[in-house]
């Protein structure tokens, strides 16, 4: 088998987005009938590389060989013709089209739709039997769950008879059970002789399913190894470029009274979907409560309702006093005045105004503070001085308050947000994804700051998709599923497996088949969504 040509070979691919060099001189070979993993930190350039292979972006330099043939891939059309299919990190579906319409889009046979639709209906039926990829062909995509939308993406690729399938972080939005299902499908596909490139952040997945794995760091390919011959530790080191120690040194918590009491909190989003379905918990001074859960199960909404970003119903008491959850006095500024700080999950979309300078951003949300006003105007000089000091303390680089936020790297942007929220000494700090896309050095610093705030007797509510981070920081862990808290665990008395089941909505009754339960609860969720 050694003399077969690689299914994919990339040689010297480079790509720059303006001043950002996303890919630098990357070469890679993937043999047919294998699953090849690609890992790397956020922003390492994985998606960019695959998008180039799929013709979505055009490389500045470099060559692509498909099945041994030099192939020009100027657009996705060429990639499809070469037998490449891709499931993007952010799905590329037409939301108000049916599954069928999405599948045939671009792959119609002839000018009229009718024959294409009929043919596709047959093919879909067959594919779903073959691979266990069942979806109703006539449902509009917007009524499908994320997991099912992903199936549509895979079906799209298979319908186009792709034998090389690229999946960009397919499990980021899936429960562990759904992910298992996906991996079974991938196994099947591999058995059929298809070639799969799998991008993921999760070392476990790499170890479980791939044959070979490549590691990317800062736009460069740092290594390609056989999975069987490596270990998670080694991969992690390759990824970040030095020894990793994801352990936070902290004293056991000394929690005091409940600062924030949440009772039966509900939230219905703009589409009429109930995102929070009666959340109750207490958050005590001097503790970190970690909220685990698969993305999309209400953790974000919970933070946002508490932070005043969204309206809610129910009861929330801060130091015994009720907080308005809608109407006047329920916005982010009122919360900050009341003593609730909020580090949002997405610093670029929410935490910062990207074109604003760093100093302007250091008062963002606090700009009504009387201390920074001079008469009718804002006291810009004072804000600037203060900002410089904060940036100094949080080691923001470069420490230039006049630089626009967009010109800082991700880690430093996060430090600006943290500096703003932590330096205010809030009674309660809501933190979402504190270290997403932040490098190891900064992660350590940020974790220390969070723990330091806890030790000052502040109450902290932490949301993170990284279970490791939840384990490392939390004094208590609550797991959310479908808008409810499924249970609460002591981090020292639980493990990732147990949390994983909770995250999938399984409460742990021995008799049930966890996977089936997941599918059921998902179906239920979907029906509700479709019914609105």
């Amino acid at each position: 088998m050694t003399d077969t040509a690689p299914a994919i070979e990339l040689k010297g691919i480079s790509k720059a987005f303006g001043p950002v060099q996303a890919n630098k001189d990357i070469s890679i070979r993937v043999m047919p009938g294998t699953i090849h993993g690609i890992i790397g930190e956020n922003g390492a350039g994985k998606s960019t590389l695959m998008s180039i292979l799929y013709g979505f972006y055009k490389a500045d330099r470099g060559e692509i060989y498909v099945k041994g043939q030099r192939t020009e891939i100027p657009d996705s059309q060429a990639a499809i013709a070469a037998g490449i299919g891709m499931v993007f990190q952010h799905f590329k579906l037409v939301q108000n089209f049916t599954v069928l319409e999405n599948v045939i889009l671009g792959a119609e046979d002839g000018g009229l739709l009718k024959p294409s639709l009929a043919k596709a209906r047959g093919v879909l039926k067959q594919l779903s039997e073959e691979y266990g990829l069942s979806v109703d062909p006539d449902t509009p995509v917007e009524a499908l769950s994320v997991g099912h939308q992903q199936r549509v993406e895979i079906l799209k690729a298979l319908y186009r008879q792709a034998d090389i399938l690229i999946l960009d972080e397919p499990t980021g939005v899936l429960t562990p059970a759904e992910a298992d299902h996906l991996f079974r499908i991938l196994d099947n596909l591999r058995a059929e002789g298809k070639t799969i490139i799998l991008i993921t952040h999760k070392l476990r997945e790499i170890m479980d399913i791939t044959d070979t794995v490549s590691v990317m760091r800062r736009g460069e390919m740092t290594a390609t190894v056989k999975t069987a011959e490596t270990s998670p530790q080694e991969l992690a080191e390759l990824m970040v470029g030095r020894k990793v120690l994801l352990r936070v040194d902290k004293e056991p918590a000394k929690p005091k009274d409940a600062v924030l009491s949440v009772r039966n909190l509900r939230h219905v989003d703009g589409d009429g979907v109930e995102r929070l379905r009666g959340i109750s918990f207490d958050l005590r001074a001097g503790e970190i409560l970690g909220l685990a859960g698969v993305a999309g199960n209400g953790q974000s909404e919970l933070l946002e309702v508490l932070g005043g970003y969204r309206d809610g119903e129910g009861e929330v008491l801060l130091n015994g006093a009720p907080l308005p959850l809608s109407g006047p006095g329920s916005d982010g500024q009122a919360r900050r005045t009341a003593g609730i700080g909020h580090v949002p999950e997405d610093r670029q979309r929410e935490g910062l105004i990207m074109p604003y300078t760093a100093w302007e951003n250091t008062v963002f949300g606090y700009h009504h503070d009387p201390a920074i006003q001079r008469g009718a105007f804002m006291n810009n000089a004072a804000i600037k001085t203060e900002a410089a000091a904060k940036m100094e303390r949080f080691d923001v680089r470069p420490p230039d308050p006049n630089l626009a936020a967009k010109n800082f790297s991700g880690g430093n942007q996060q430090k600006i947000v943290l500096a703003r929220e932590i330096e205010r000494n809030p009674d309660v700090l809501l933190i979402g994804q504190p270290t997403r896309g932040v490098d190891i050095g900064a992660i350590e610093f940020i974790h220390q700051e969070i723990v330091r705030l806890r030790d000052l007797g502040k109450a902290i509510l932490l949301v993170s998709v990284e279970l490791d981070e939840i384990f490392a920081l939390s004094d208590r862990i609550a797991v959310m599923f479908d808008g409810r808290i499924m249970g609460e665990r002591d981090p020292n008395e639980t493990d990732q497996r147990e949390l994983g089941l909770l995250m999938a909505g399984v409460t742990g009754d021995a008799g049930e088949d966890p996977i089936k339960t997941v599918d059921q609860s998902l179906d239920e969720k979907e029906h509700r969504a479709a019914g609105r």
């Binding site: 987005f17 303006g18 799929y54 979505f56 972006y57 657009d75 996705s76 059309q77 060429a78 990639a79 499809i80 013709a81 891709m86 993007f88 590329k92 579906l93 037409v94 939301q95 108000n96 089209f97 319409e101 999405n102 045939i104 889009l105 671009g106 792959a107 119609e108 002839g110 000018g111 009229l112 739709l113 009718k114 294409s116 799209k156």
Partner: protein, 321 residues
């Protein structure tokens, strides 16, 4: 109102709705592809001018039509250049094109004809003649239906029939053909179209070309069908009313027909009656003039069913920041 008057009003409704309908369908193609077009007015205007001017110079209404279409498509191309190729702001581009058309038509008219920004009046041959449909005369004496057929349905210029036929044609193209599927997709999720191996740019240019074509028909009808020549600013806000009708119609062809007929009716009534007396209460003509605009605002406000525009409308398709 007696039957004859009613027929007259409806007849004039048909005439007045025709340019609206053509422009509205033009906008439908463009906006369904994700390109917002507030430049319908300008395209109609320039088409009106060139169809009248060329018809006046050559004496052929067909050559006039052709040049009207070409000119509207050129403006469309400019809009495409700005909003598709250079990913500029589509609204600003539309505003600019409206001004461009308003200025250029008068400038050229003055240069060619020196008649203060109008074209000479068109003679026979330079204008669309009214078509008498088969059996119109024969059926005329039949009570009720006869006059309806004779007065209302027969006796319009060919562009009127073309406009009305465009409605089912548009529906069919949009919902029954591959091109239609892709067109609707590109207005909703251009990245889905792109990754499916179809060119977003080509699709949008195609949509815009159709938009130009239909605006060309609309303009030609205004200057050489409804009127006998071009006068300055003769579109008189019809492009905006068409846009309003498009919103009213929720971007759908059949609804567009009804919306345009409604607005045509409003115009017909406002034209015919200065102030409408409703027994002690008079509706001033200015209110009738403003009614299409008021209705549009009401629709937009979502009080009468919500209009959800194509999701990618107005946004240039940018892959690389």
């Amino acid at each position: 109102m007696d039957f004859a008057t009613l027929l007259q009003v409806l007849d004039s409704t048909v005439r007045l709705a025709t340019p609206l309908l053509l422009a509205c369908l033009a906008g439908l193609f463009s906006e369904r592809s994700g390109v917002i077009d507030i430049g319908l007015e300008g395209k109609m205007l320039i088409a009106a001018f060139f169809s009248a001017a060329i018809a006046a110079l050559t004496g052929s209404v067909w050559l006039g039509l052709l040049s009207g279409i070409v000119s509207a498509m050129l403006l469309s191309g400019l809009h495409g250049l700005a909003s598709i190729t250079f990913r500029g702001n589509q609204l600003i581009s539309g505003v600019a094109l409206n001004f461009l058309a308003a200025g250029l038509t008068v400038l050229i008219a003055q240069d060619w004809f020196s008649q203060g920004g109008r074209t000479p009046s068109l003679l026979e041959g330079g204008r669309w003649a009214a078509l008498t449909l088969p059996l119109a005369e024969t059926l005329r004496p039949v009570p009720i239906l006869g006059p309806i057929y004779y007065e209302l349905i027969s006796g319009h210029s060919i562009l009127v029939y073309v406009a009305f036929l465009c409605v089912p044609a548009t529906w069919w193209i949009l919902f029954r053909t591959r091109f239609g599927l892709r067109l609707r997709a590109v207005g909703e999720a251009p990245e889905a179209v792109d990754t499916a191996g179809v060119s977003v740019v080509a699709l949008r240019y195609a949509a815009i070309a159709i938009c130009g074509l239909l605006c060309g028909l609309a303009g030609s009808y205004l200057a050489t069908g409804l009127q006998a020549g071009f006068v300055k600013d003769m579109t008189a806000g019809r492009g905006y009313i068409a846009l309003a009708a498009l919103i009213f119609a929720k971007w759908r062809p059949w609804y567009a027909l009804w919306a345009c007929l409604l607005f045509g009716l409003l115009q017909a009534v406002a034209l015919r009656y200065q102030n409408i007396d409703l027994g002690g209460f008079t509706i001033p003509v200015q209110f009738m003039d403003a009614l299409p605009y008021i209705l549009t605002v009401v629709i937009l406000a979502g009080f009468v069913g919500r209009a959800i525009p194509p999701r990618a409308g107005g946004q240039p398709y940018v892959k690389e920041r």
